[in-house]
Point group: C2
């Protein structure tokens, strides 16, 4: 049986469950490598993936004998088969944060499980700590992102619009080995940089504008996430102070991150330093990155959980001055035993283009 499923089976056993119905495609991709539509059942003795005729070939080409997964076709499964999958089982887990209320009713009537049990993100929690192959994929996504950033420094010119720059980034990713963007690229110029989730517009880059670029791609399904704030022509003195404060905090957090560290302390450190300088941290300091661009763990001042080796998280403090400008600096980093390794490596010095 593959290691990820073996590990999940241990966890569900520890919670007195006899099986699990897995419907979130990200969970299925994580556990099996399968990208096709379907449902994964962990029954008492078997791992079963049920899919449609048109995906059978693709599914079988992804699986190896070691995965120990039986592939079935929805059209061959009878009413009795559904009821037999979890026969004599007491507690069956399901993904209550993914399954809709209708689907939940459908699961109840089809499988007739004795007890359907909420699994409270059991797979999402397991996904927090990455294995070697996952880390390699994220590293590759980060490398493509760094290369794209270098390219942009030569590409961006006065008079270009936010939309044009965002489109160029998307094109770059798709023509340089990535699957595509890992989220809608943010290019926010001048006063738009003061809005953390800005959507690229027809605003043109002008002399002395800050240009906030928040971008990432996916490689074999795994995401990268990086933000840099650069400047057109010159850098206004008043922004320098804010830039320095954001960067100082970003570097401080980078030094704090390591296995065993309590997550909320990271965010509290930035919040208190910002507060001393009369600013607020108005969004989360970071988040896990993997098959999803935003996944566990969330780095904020309420999260009591602990960083572990091989988690991959972002470190992205930002300060926003409404109507004027904003500065955010973000890396994707790998947590290690003694510290962290930034996987996005683009320069964080003042960059004036």
């Amino acid at each position: 049986m593959n290691e990820k499923i073996r590990c999940l089976r241990e966890k569900i056993r520890a919670r007195s469950m006899d099986g699990m119905i897995i419907s979130n495609p990200k969970s299925i991709k994580y556990l099996t490598g399968i990208d096709s539509e379907g449902i994964l059942l962990l029954t008492r003795k078997e791992n079963i993936f049920i899919t449609y005729s048109m995906y059978m070939e693709a599914v079988n080409s992804v699986l190896t004998i070691n995965d120990d997964i039986i592939v079935m076709n929805f059209k061959d499964i009878t009413k009795e088969d559904y009821e037999n999958f979890f026969l004599f089982c007491e507690n069956i887990g399901f993904e209550e944060r993914y399954v809709t209320y209708s689907e939940y009713q459908n699961i109840k009537s089809k499988y007739k499980p004795n007890n359907l049990i909420e699994t409270e993100g059991i797979i999402e929690k397991q996904r927090m700590v990455k294995d070697e192959e996952e880390i390699e994929n994220i590293k590759m996504a980060c490398e493509i992102t760094d290369n794209c950033f270098s390219y942009l420094l030569g590409f961006i010119k006065e008079g270009m619009t936010e939309k044009e720059i965002a489109l160029e980034i998307e094109m770059y990713f798709k023509t340089h080995g990535a699957d595509g963007v890992s989220f809608d690229t943010i290019v926010a110029v001048g006063e738009n940089a003061a809005i953390p989730h800005w959507v690229p517009s027809d605003r043109k880059v002008k002399m002395s504008d800050p240009i906030l670029i928040d971008m990432g791609c996916t490689y074999k399904g795994y995401a990268s996430d990086m933000t840099r704030t650069i400047f057109m022509g010159c850098m206004l003195e008043e922004i320098k102070k804010v830039y320095d404060l954001v960067l100082k905090n970003q570097l401080t957090v980078e030094k704090m991150i390591k296995d065993g560290y309590t997550i909320k302390t990271l965010s509290q450190s930035v919040e208190s330093d910002f507060k001393i300088n009369n600013y607020d941290l108005i969004h989360g300091l970071g988040h896990g990155v993997g098959l999803e661009i935003h996944e566990l763990p969330y780095i904020n001042s309420k999260n009591e959980s602990i960083l572990r080796t091989n988690m991959v998280v972002t470190n992205e403090p930002g300060i926003y001055i409404p109507g004027k400008y904003g500065v955010r600096i973000e890396d994707t980093v790998l947590v290690t035993k003694d510290g962290c390794i930034p996987l996005t490596k683009s320069s964080k010095n003042y960059i004036v283009i």
Copy 2:
């Protein structure tokens, strides 16, 4: 009150509901024009949209007095406020096909409604019949799609890969007034055209290859969907027969579509003509198009419902010869009192480039 909400309120009253909690962003966009995250409550007397601080400005800029919607901020809403929204109400509707099981539990504990009632796609059903503004947006998306197709006829050359062509389509949409693609573009060359949901690969276009292109964009959120199968250099005789059969059926369906027609009859007609010729219709004949690329009504041989004026649906028969080639021809059409108007208008004759 805006017309769409007024109409929805009539429907929920007719089903003895005193209000509704609307959480699907597509439903919210449809009813209000709002694109921002939040929740829409239809209480006994008021329409309330609750959102986050960062979206307040965007939300207020979309609404007019005529909408009669009160905008609130999540952070200002107390435990008591939640319980008061539906005080003295008996039945409150929710979107059971969208809300996750966790969210359902959350709604129950926050609003403490007496009865939460499944609304069985009440809004999705209302969305089937489009108003003038919606039709204008879909027409524009279709026009951009037609223009893109004309452009492609000059762009595609022997030796190009499926991926390159798909990327060019995406670029075209983004630089010619569309928001972007309405679904992942399918470019399937040669034997890949035999797989209805092919994902563009590095397969290159060679002499005599069929090239199946299934593409669409969105304009102001509204989608288009069109498929054409064209040929590189020449068209093999064996494909002509299949092409003619697909086209004959596509045109027959185009003639059948009109207000009052029973949906399943459309599909049954194609199935029986394909069967006579020893082929099968292996996927749905079509689907509604609007804020989503696939929405109600689904055109298949099980759907007993009736076409109505101002529904927008696709008409997309296809024949697939595994390992060899496939032909699909698809238009987005507007249902009228006496027939239908194809909104995608690209030529369906043999096209050899």
